[in-house]
């Protein structure tokens, strides 16, 4: 499903965010990516989304080398994933509903289906009553849940979630994690970057740890360490 071979990413200013990372994720796996602040976790998701290109190494998704994609093929790669960005990336002038719907509009779903599915997903993340508000009228945690709703609305085959519970209280966090587990159980491969020790330690899923850009740990049924 997902394969990184000797992936290195050095940003133009010289900082090396990822260093010779190798990693293989099977279809349907649930992987926690952990590591200190600045370890390279977000960079990893950016590479998978082809927001950045690796300096060296190869990234294959479903056997396809995404570094070799032509510009016009990139949107189709992105549509096959759902992403919760660390900085949310919501459209500031669009309502919650419109933000979530956009992921479906892009793949040209019928408007009737969009309406139904968006309402359903907003219900799941607990924002049904905020559907007509603008992101600036939401709390931090609510914005994060909108970003999550947009990421899952298309039932993507790969879900990248960059600290999806960073702005959420423990209780709401658990609700979201249960949602992610449900989605994972329907076959979606899940890559979740997180600092939530409690969640990682409780779920005992596969854990990948980055330290200053190097992959230092990769355990089935791992814990957060710390």
């Amino acid at each position: 499903m997902l394969e990184l071979s000797n992936v290195t990413k050095a940003y133009p200013n010289g900082s090396v965010a990822l260093n010779q990372v190798n990693m293989l994720v099977e279809r349907g796996e649930f992987v926690f990516v952990v590591g200190a602040s600045g370890a390279g976790k977000t960079t990893l998701t950016k590479l998978l989304l082809r927001e950045e290109k690796p300096t060296s190494g190869k990234i294959a998704i479903n056997g396809k080398n995404i570094a070799k994609l032509r510009p016009h093929e990139v949107p189709y790669l992105r549509r096959s994933m759902g992403v919760v960005f660390q900085d949310f990336r919501l459209m500031p002038t669009w309502t919650v509903e419109e933000n979530v719907a956009f992921a479906m509009v892009v793949v040209e779903t019928a408007p009737r289906l969009i309406r139904r599915r968006v309402a359903e997903v907003l219900e799941l993340v607990g924002l049904a009553n905020k559907h007509a508000q603008l992101p600036s009228q939401l709390s931090g945690g609510e914005q994060q849940r909108v970003a999550l709703a947009r990421a899952i609305v298309n039932k993507p085959m790969l879900l990248l979630a960059d600290e999806p519970t960073g702005n959420l209280d423990p209780e709401t966090s658990w609700g979201i994690v249960k949602l992610l587990l449900d989605i994972n159980s329907t076959g979606t491969t899940m890559l979740m970057v997180t600092h939530a020790k409690q969640i990682v330690d409780t779920l005992r899923k596969r854990v990948v740890e980055l330290e200053s850009g190097c992959l230092t740990r990769d355990e089935k049924c791992g814990i957060y360490h710390g």
């Binding site: 989304l49 082809r50 927001e51 994609l69 510009p71 016009h72 990139v74 949107p75 189709y76 790669l77 992105r78 549509r79 992403v83 960005f85 990336r89 919501l90 459209m91 500031p92 002038t93 956009f102 992921a103 509009v105 892009v106 793949v107 040209e108 019928a110 408007p111 947009r150």
Partner: protein, 295 residues
Amino acid sequence: MVKPRTFGYFFESAGKSLVRNSWMTLASISTVAVSLLVLGIFLLVAVNINAVAANVEGQLQVTAHLATLSAAERGRLETEIKAIPGVTEVRFVPQSEAWQRLLEWYGDNQDFLAGWEEENPLRDSFEIRADVSHRVPEIAAAVTVLAGVEEVLWGREIVEQLLAITRMMRLVGIGLMVALALAALFIIANTIRMAIFARRREIGIMRYIGATNWFIRWPFVIEGLVLGLLGGMMAASVLAWGYYLAVRALVQAIPFWPWVQPWPFLQQLALLLLSIGVVIGILGSGLSLRRYLDA
């Protein structure tokens, strides 16, 4: 290829964006309108100046004073003159008519002419007009050598000065129009670029959600079209209304001036401004987007 219904979304999205970024929309539309208005005003002035130049030039003529000729000889001469390339009109002025004109010209001071009435020192002549004024000199030269022509008058110095002036007026006018048109294009395109620049983050977000370049571009192109159209319409209406009033006032103030009438000229001008607005609106937004697209 997008599905037809997605175009509905593009229009809806463009409309929402125009309304929600209303401040930016107003700023852009007013810049488009002001630029096109200035362009239109100067086009109006240029067209009027051109009309004056054409009017002045149209009055230039070559006068050929004739020897005493028989009617047949005169007819042959007239045919010969008409055969000269560029000659559009040949009018015979008998000496009696020339005398009348002289009397009119002197007006109250006819006593200067006293004593001449009987013998009329003037000759018959042909007044010859050219299709384009700058051919007047060559026509004069061609007429001079014809048999039966005693003398050709065409005011070499005056004609040459006038032609120099009208040519200069046209040159300067065209130069200014081109400069102004380029400036208007530049300013409108620049404004649209700035409006898009202010939304570059949003464009990035759309890309990361998996929108194709054309999917992002369409609503912006439609927005550009609407901006250009509305701006152009504002400019055209102000211009049409203003020129209509202006001509009404000016015709009273300077009746002898060859004012260009509002219709159908204003209609063409309005169409021109609208087209410019729409074309730059579309191209401006379509092209400015490129910086923020591609992977």
